[in-house]
Amino acid sequence: MISIKVLKPKAIIAFMLASLLTLTIANSAFALLYGFSSSMLKAMGGLSKEVLIIQEGAKSIHTSWVPLSLAESLNKLPNVKAKPFTLTPSIVNGQPVIVRGLSILFDYENKIIEGALPKEDGAWILFGEKAYKKLRLKIGDIIAIGSPKNPSLIFLIVAGVYKLGDLRDYEAVVPLNLGLALAGLPKGFVSAIQVEGIKKEALKKLLEKPYKIEIIHEAIDGQLTILDALSLPIASISLKDSKPKKLELPFGYYTFIYQASGLASNITSLLLTKDQTLNLSLKKGLFKLKAILPASVNPALISESGKEIKGFWVGDSWLFNVSQGAYILKLKNSSFKILIQGDSIFNPAFAENQQSLKVKVLWRDGTEASNYIISIKNLNGELVFGAESHTSTITIPLPAGEYEIEVSKPPYLAKAHVNVPSKEIISITLSGLSNPSKIPLEAFKRLKPSSPIEASIMALSMLIGLAASMLLALTIALTILSAFALFAIYKALYSFAKENLKLLWMLNAESSFIFKTVTMPILALSLTLSLLSSILAFILHESLNLSILGYGALTLFQFIFAYSTLLALTSWLSFQAEINKSIKEGFMH
């Protein structure tokens, strides 16, 4: 009662209204600030605590190019799990949605609340519960999504709805191959790789520099083709003299294939984590030689010492277990010299009856391409030819048959299906270089592991750049100014009560009495108002359902209440400090 009399009833009502209003605004501004910053940071950073690999220099996770083979290579490290994905801002039913391309849907299993989780790649799309509701979709709907970069419209079937309970509920998920098509990424590249089981610093060390490989070999005529973890050729070395060959490659899992006339030997596969010397002359142990011959041929394999090695018919070819060295394969009417360096496939058809296949490689604008790697695989996917070509046209000796030609000039890859013999020159077109700085090994070298926060800041700075800046500046300014407004209201309350407080002081009321009778009730009132305003701000925040780039501004009531209480307490302390100061100075001012 004393408190009401001292502070004046009408002033208390005005104070309550003003405080409630100001606290509600302050809380709403804070909820927006917290919601947007945390939502965007988490969403743009890949929604995980794991390390993310993105392209160094990319302004956003959405514009990053990371070689997919790196994920395969990282998965070869003990206890390391790498998950490649794409993230593409897209439009569905006129509203922005982030579409995530994934190859592994482990996180989404048992999280489907409507429809079903497709088991194979196909023309399907899954929606998070929040996005599904917002976009007013139905299971079985056919939607069209356009790539932000390419003139490519993709039709997809709404297959299911998932609920993970995090920001991914605002996204959509498609198979990785469609994610790549939507993102407009070249074949073999993804937006980012999420890595578990290795620390950021260790990963940084692994990726920061290329490693030297010295290849020691005997003078053998042939070609050494190096395949990455996705079995795509990334380098080819001609072995014409016995000089050791040196090359630099970034971290990765590589397979070395030796090719000579009719022979393709898988020499070794290695996970490159340090500088290495590869000695092709000192290999020990038994290797498998697969000779593509009919069962009736019954070939004989003779070693250098004249010993005959027995072969086994395995259904489609003859198999020999041999050690490294030179051999002679004797058939009925012919014999072939074979040098075994590792597991090998020998097809005499490649050494005999060869046809010439002419391949011409061009850029999309018709200009001639050079310095590309060409590889030819049979229909079983076995590499039968690989070489680096410095001219646009290359002539390849091949026996008759059907083949897949791959021309690789990373990050570009073009494929063609051919029937040999072919009278025509096979023309293969590489898509144009949209960004000349993104060239083969540069793409590997320019990677850096970063925490989700770092990745998020990059994403924020580019993807929604101005919008993010505007929203953050706006919400920060609103939060600070509304806090000041609350302080001003408490100051006003003190100003109204000052005369009555002076009266109390003149009546010899002690400061403890004033504290108990005046300021404590105001503290209780402030805390009540902070709770009430938190509830109001939370209701307002939820009902407005504001979003940016499809992501909602997720916030928790506890955070709003904690901020509100802190604000009310600080303002009350300023009120209390004013009273203490006045008592100390004898209400002179």
């Binding site: 003003a18 709403s28 439009i91 056919i142 490519s152 039709f155 299906h417 919008a467 100014l481 504001l546």
Partner: protein
């Protein structure tokens, strides 16, 4: 008791002097109102700065080259259905102009376009072929060729219109066209529509917050006006006792109200601009985000007039009410 300009000016002068001495306790009220005005200023200035940059973003965005619509338009009509085969979704597409459709998709095919009873299959559907035929809804279709690319057609089945009709699929019809209206159902590249959609989200948000802030400003103006009017009661009683007319008092108070409102709005404007500039420059320095350059605009003037009017009306009404009570 009548109206006199000279008397009124003297009265106003006296009231201003009293206000300056702190008799109306204006400082706190002006500050509180100014802070609420600044909130509105921050919102308006930042949204206007964002809007002013949008045309630049739109200029650099790639214009749509392909659009899809559910409404008939001059282009290619494409019928789309799907089947679920071994828990895999397979798109079934048909059009009377398959050549144009495949050209729009830059499709690379081996073989020929399907005629009646034939199917052009995505390359990933090869394992489903038995004896050179593909079975769809019990109908054996001869495989006319394969689509090697693009990726999104690699698991699709393309049929001639007549085959599609015979199979009696329920379907959705889309119309595809090169270039066109931005309001289409879908477009590619979609960067322009993405910019527009994100801008629309932000403007929706700004508009919602603006309504909340305008309501809050009005309430605060009323509360502050009430407290000022109440504080002025003693002075007004004294002036009435000194033979000042109620009309003169009201007019002087109106001038005072205008001054108070003007000061509060000007202060709010300054605080708002400074606050936004400070937070934006901090974000720019520490996070490299673009700096929001405060921008004067018609919308800003509108908000300033609103704030001035709200404060002035609240003060005038409550001052007049106070004078009437005397």
């Amino acid at each position: 008791m009548g109206f006199s300009l000279l008397k009124n000016l003297r009265l106003t002068q006296f009231m201003l002097a009293a206000a300056a001495r702190g008799e109306f306790k204006l400082t706190q009220s002006i500050l509180a109102t100014a802070l609420f005005v600044s909130l509105l200023i921050v919102l308006t200035v930042s949204s206007q700065a964002y809007l002013s940059q949008l045309p630049i973003l739109e200029e650099i965005a790639i214009k749509p080259a392909l659009i899809a619509s559910k409404e008939p338009l001059k282009g290619i009509a494409i019928k789309i259905s799907y089947i679920k085969l071994n828990s895999n979704f397979i798109l079934i597409l048909a059009s009377s102009n398959l050549t144009a459709f495949l050209k729009l998709n830059q499709a690379n095919i081996d073989g020929k376009l399907p005629s009646f009873g034939e199917a052009l299959l995505g390359v990933k559907l090869k394992p489903l072929i038995e004896n050179s035929t593909f079975t769809l809804k019990g109908l054996n279709l001869k495989v006319s060729g394969f689509i090697n690319s693009p990726e999104h057609l690699s698991s699709a089945v393309i049929l001639a219109d007549s085959t599609f009709e015979k199979l009696n699929f329920s379907y959705e019809c889309f119309y595809l066209k090169e270039e066109g209206d931005f309001q289409a159902f879908a477009q590619a590249p979609s960067s322009l529509s993405l910019i527009k959609a994100v801008a629309s989200e932000i403007l929706k948000m700004v508009s919602s917050i603006a309504w909340v802030l305008r309501s809050a400003l009005t309430l605060i103006c009323l509360m502050q006006a009430y407290s000022i009017a109440k504080e002025s009661r003693k002075t007004l009683k004294m002036l009435l006792a000194l033979n000042a007319s109620k009309i003169n008092l009201t007019l002087s108070l109106t001038i005072l109200a205008l001054l108070i409102s003007g000061i509060a709005v000007a202060l709010g404007y300054a605080i708002g601009l400074t606050g936004l500039a400070l937070s934006s420059s901090a974000l720019s320095i520490f996070y490299g985000l673009p700096y929001i350059k405060p921008l004067a605009s018609y919308a800003l003037i509108k908000e300033l007039i609103f704030a001035l009017t709200a404060s002035f009306l609240a003060l005038t009404i409550l001052f007049a009410n106070e004078v009437l009570k005397l």
